[in-house]
């Protein structure tokens, strides 16, 4: 047995009710409110916020079809419309769902909460028929095992450990030496940055939390990877869970935290099991618990399964979710690392899966390895996901400094035969779309920033010449609209107004004020929104306006050069 971090029981309670009833009946919510002494409005606030929860009985087949970026490139939206039409009038509810994290296996759908990859119309249809016939989710999953990904555990190249017995060697050395200042100095010297997308120096963050007063601190791993195109954390958790856990323990010991929470998106069931297996092993072997590796240091680690939503990946929204609230980002400062800004207002280290992963790697291989591992003057290694219109989508472990051309045309096999590359998004929807002419940019933070783009989360999505860039911009803006939490006015209202306006543009209707309104919206959302989501809603369309102005202009004249827009059905 081990100590538990103070996490809200509310989601476990709601999930238990939903497992028993299929939804959340009012009587059960009232009973829960009584039992846990939670005001009813608080239950309603969260139950109505997270799409995972049903407030009314669900259909016999609840079908969710992803239509974001890579899945849009693989006709996820068309699939959704065809399925909705085919099962119209039956006890089937076909809806759009935001990115399921299977961009390399597009299109992805979920039937009664089970995810299926690379589905065809026929495959999806028979799954739904099976669900209608009364198949349990487990039976559904079993029926489609051939279609499911065969994510077998592979060794990642930069894993410093040759075998299982040598794992956690870095932790062992630091537990003995307790040279925490030295650890921080190494991290700072290595230049390791947060790899969730924002790129904040990790050494500084850990030092900040370490320096905060008070005995209670937390360490949180953000494994809520939900941005379209971003699949690298799934890969890392699958293939190197021990390095993620080791990174978290190191972070905890450095910062002086007793509890760690690994916050994972609920669609990553396999990875949750892999990590739980690893955590169980650590408790068995004395790596976690009251005496880490026999020392006087204690550290406990547990998994918190996200109730789901892209916004939960925003660090302060993630903390709100752990506290059992609506995942609405907080006003900052104070930042999570500061007293008053973290989990339960305590100083908290939050890092991405990949960041924690690289900590033991760097501490083991040394700062110099970082320099030699990179190319063209860049330092280190990065995991990138390449998806969309490529022959061989997947996650690749590559040296920093590798040109995007090599990632797309080499590792991912380039666009399908006969097609030409039109554009690529270097970091999901938030990084905007770049033209083929910018393919030779290197995977390098500084070089990308100078080019007006970003390495971000390494979520590369490729569009070939069949794509309409205005349609892609709308697709990405709509993703942000769908995922806006609604807390602040610029994002809640602005993302909707922007989506509505772009939808009109794709229909060839551009109002007399639209270009002015577009500018004003970009300005207000970028500068006035509370969090990063609202601040980047405009990026996809701004990048397309910048790099593909002719294509946007053609729509205003009633023509879609790629031949996409004027024949699409209703948008999601």
């Amino acid at each position: 047995m081990h100590g538990r971090a103070p996490t809200s029981p509310i989601f476990d309670e709601l999930r238990a009710i939903q497992r028993a009833h299929g939804y959340l009946p009012e009587a059960e919510l009232r009973a829960l409110a009584d039992r846990q002494r939670i005001p009813l409005f608080r239950l309603q606030a969260v139950a109505s916020f997270y799409p995972h929860f049903f407030l009314t009985p669900p259909a016999r087949a609840e079908v969710r079809v992803c239509g974001d970026m890579a899945c849009h490139r693989h006709d996820g939206n068309g699939l959704r419309e065809r399925l909705a039409a085919r099962f119209n009038g039956q006890d089937v509810n076909v809806r759009h769902v935001s990115c399921l994290g299977r961009c390399d296996l597009a299109p992805a759908i979920a039937v009664n909460d089970r995810i299926f990859e690379k589905v065809s119309d026929a495959g999806a249809g028979s799954l739904i028929e099976f669900a209608l016939a009364g198949a349990s989710p487990a039976q559904l999953a079993a029926s489609a095992s051939a279609e499911a990904s065969s994510d077998r555990r592979r060794r990642v190249e930069c894993d410093p450990y040759a075998d299982q017995s040598s794992q956690y060697g870095v932790l062992r050395a630091y537990v003995q030496s307790k040279d925490w200042p030295g650890l921080i100095a190494t991290l700072k010297a290595s230049g390791l940055r947060g790899l969730g997308g924002a790129g904040f120096p990790t050494g500084m963050k850990w030092e900040l939390v370490r320096s905060q007063p008070g005995p209670e601190k937390y360490i949180v791993c953000n494994a809520d990877e939900s941005e379209p195109g971003t699949i690298k954390d799934r890969h890392i958790m699958t293939h190197a869970p021990h390095l993620v856990v080791e990174g978290m323990i190191l972070g905890g010991l450095v910062a002086g935290a007793r509890h760690g929470i690994l916050y994972i998106r609920h669609e990553y069931t396999d990875q949750e099991h892999i990590l739980q297996h690893e955590i169980d092993r650590c408790y068995r072997e004395g790596i976690l618990g009251d005496r880490v590796m026999g020392s006087d240091l204690g550290f406990d680690l547990e998994i918190f399964v996200s109730p789901g939503l892209y916004i939960c990946g925003e660090e302060s929204a993630l903390l709100e979710a752990i506290e059992g609230k609506r995942a609405e980002p907080r006003n900052k400062p104070p930042f999570p690392g500061q007293l008053g800004g973290g989990l339960w207002a305590k100083p908290t280290v939050i890092n991405n899966v990949e960041t924690f992963f690289f900590v033991p790697v760097i501490l083991s291989k040394g700062v110099d390895w970082m320099k030699t591992a990179g190319r063209n003057g860049s330092a280190g290694v990065k995991f990138v996901g390449v998806s969309g219109d490529v022959v061989n989508p997947g996650v690749f472990e590559v040296p920093m400094g590798t040109p995007y051309r090599e990632l797309i045309e080499g590792h991912a096999g380039g666009v399908p035969p006969g097609r030409t590359l039109k554009s690529y998004a270097p970091s999901g929807p938030a990084g905007g779309y770049l033209p083929a002419s910018m393919l030779d940019l290197p995977l390098d933070w500084n070089a990308m920033t100078q080019a007006g783009a970003t390495v971000g989360s390494g979520a590369i999505v490729v569009c070939d010449d069949r794509a309409c860039m205005l349609d892609m911009a709308l697709n990405s803006v709509r993703f942000f609209r769908n995922e806006s939490c609604g807390k602040c006015v610029p994002c809640r209202t602005g993302s909707t107004k922007m989506t509505e306006m772009l939808t009109e543009w794709t229909k060839g209707r551009r109002g007399p004020h639209d270009l002015a309104l577009y500018q004003e919206l970009c300005h207000a959302m970028r500068l006035a929104s509370i969090c990063g989501l609202g601040q980047v809603v405009h990026v996809p369309i701004a990048s397309v306006m910048k790099h593909f102005p002719d294509e946007v202009e053609a729509h205003a004249k009633g023509r879609c050069p790629a031949g996409v827009c004027f024949r699409l059905g209703a948008p999601a």
Binding site: E26, P39, F41, A45, R481, G511, L517, H523
Partner: protein
Amino acid sequence: MSETIAQTGMINLIIDGRDISVPRGTTIFDAARLNGIAIPTLCHQQNQAPVGVCRVCIVDVGARVYAAACIRECEPGMKVKTAEPGVVQARATLVEMLMSDHPSPCARQQHSGDCELETMAKAAGVSEPRFARRLSTRGRDDSSLSIAVDHEACILCDRCVRGCDEVKKNMVIGRSGRGYATHIGFDLDLPMGSSTCVSCGECMVSCPTGALTNKRVVDSRLQGDRLDPEWILQLPVFKGVSGTFLELNQGAVVKRAIPPGEIICREGEFGSTAFYILEGSVDVYINTPIAHVQQEDAAGGWFSRIRSKLSDRRTHTRDEESSRRYIPIDAPVDLPYDKPVAELAAGDLFGEMTCMSFHPRSATVRAKTQVVVLEMLRNVLDILQKNKTFRAELDRKYRQRALETHIRSVPVFAKMPQDFVNYLRDRVELIRFSPGEVIVRQGDEADAFYLVRLGFVKVSERHPGGDVVLTYLGRGSYFGEMGLLGGGVRTATCTALDHVDVVKIAGEDFHLMLSRFPDIREGLEQVARERAEMNRRRVASTEHVPIGDFLNQGLMEAQSLLLLDLEKCTRCDQCVRACADAHEGVTRLVREGLRFDKYLVATSCRSCRDPLCMVGCPVGSIRRRGSMEIIIEDWCVGCGLCVRNCPYGNLNLHPFAVQVPDPAQPTRMVAATRNKATGCDLCMEHEEPSCVYACPHDAAHRVEPLAFFGSMLGARDQRHTGSTEGTSK
């Protein structure tokens, strides 16, 4: 913890070029305000913790993005620009976006011209928003008696949320939904009136727009002394209410001083107010004879007139007459059948049903001493009823004074031993339901027994093709025994039709009672059997009916119908005259009604699918017999509500000349007219109704509906095909 955050001392910064010094921890908004720089805001209020959600107070602090001044603390050396062109531009965009979704002018703008959003839009020069209007509607919620909710005008500033949850700690309002679909919700996103809202008014006072506004009550001119809100707030029963709310509702509650002997309200009158006695005492009584209308054949044979007279149940016992000893009224006491008078005193409330549900007054109230009362409209009563102190006081009094007569007024409980009544006194729960709320649901586990204390409960059963209303239960009725006696599962759904108060007796207490008192068990089981049989027959009667129209008109459910054959009828009105002649000049037949085929269905109680006549009777004197005919109990006060409610015009008011005590001098009797409700009696004393006999054209018939319409409907039941006409002349 806060000590470690808040370090003491002053810090210096620059706002709009001015050097400013403020204590550490001061927000930019406050620092600017203290120095005469106004930063616009929608979501921030001085008495609430800042949340920074409207973003209108954004300022440039030289960072990557703007900061919300309301929540951002000043930092040493900070350079703040509150009115940079970029800041002003972003603010204008936010306001324009909000305006594009705003129903301008909203309720607040219409009433008082001070909607904060519309005022700000005007100042920013936003007239016609250029953004597309919101496509989806967000709706209104009219369920609260005191606060109007217009979600369309809501800007999600969270001011009401903080007012409710943080300022007043009432914990009712929260955000519900997500993204653009976010809205404020009450409890589990219920209509405000069905939620645990106590109508303190804080949300409404906090709201910057017309999303939450004071509901003006139409009849807001009460006679009496208008009261100063501060004086009202001193009364314990108004504890916790927002003063601003009372100011907005000045005149909705007045103080009246009434001399002894003066009548405060009369039975049968319509009204819209309730009274709370501050000082003195009153008599409450029924001034209509406690009797029913009896038909008497004056000279024998149907040829002569039938005479109506008033008889009470001691002199004329009717089949299945209620043996209740108490008459339920709209006050915390019941009146004894034999001597319908009671006394109320300071701290008592009466007229609740009239005020909340506009039922007619159930009794006459006269000042016994010099009396001071608060007379109030329903929005104020609503606040009182939701005040916990007041509620507890009302409940305490009810348990003390009325619970016993209430229990004993149910015939099967009439002889319950005193010790068990005392046992129940502290164990029962007193619960209130809003209109439309489900009290028990068919199929749910039966865990309690209920006595209706106030209001009306609809009892319905689920059937393929829709719910069938089995009955309406008013004060003095009970429900829930069928489930408890039977399989432990609710056999019907009971829904509050208006504002309903019930006495809830837990299942274990109910079972204890049954085990201790076999008589009560037997009585309840007997009633349960009768109810089950009645329900079975009602449902069965509708099962064979093939024609929706027939069903819709309620004809199928009739015991007996009077039909006028319109092809033969010359509209001579002989039937109407005959009826009037037979009933002392008061016709019970109206030659109007629903048409089915060539027939006009003129009269007679149909024991409707949905017996609307029973709803609202202030004294609960109209009910259904086992045979489903309507019976009017002796304590009818002649208000006429059932007459109005009957959709078929089958109930009438029958005036009687009577002698009643002179209100001015109660020992003296004076002549007066009192009404009693009556239904068509089908001239039961005769072989044939007068109207049928009188018709010179053979157009009027008294028929059994299923038999008569059998062939027309192609009824499957062959028994009826032989006689297409019932008894006719």
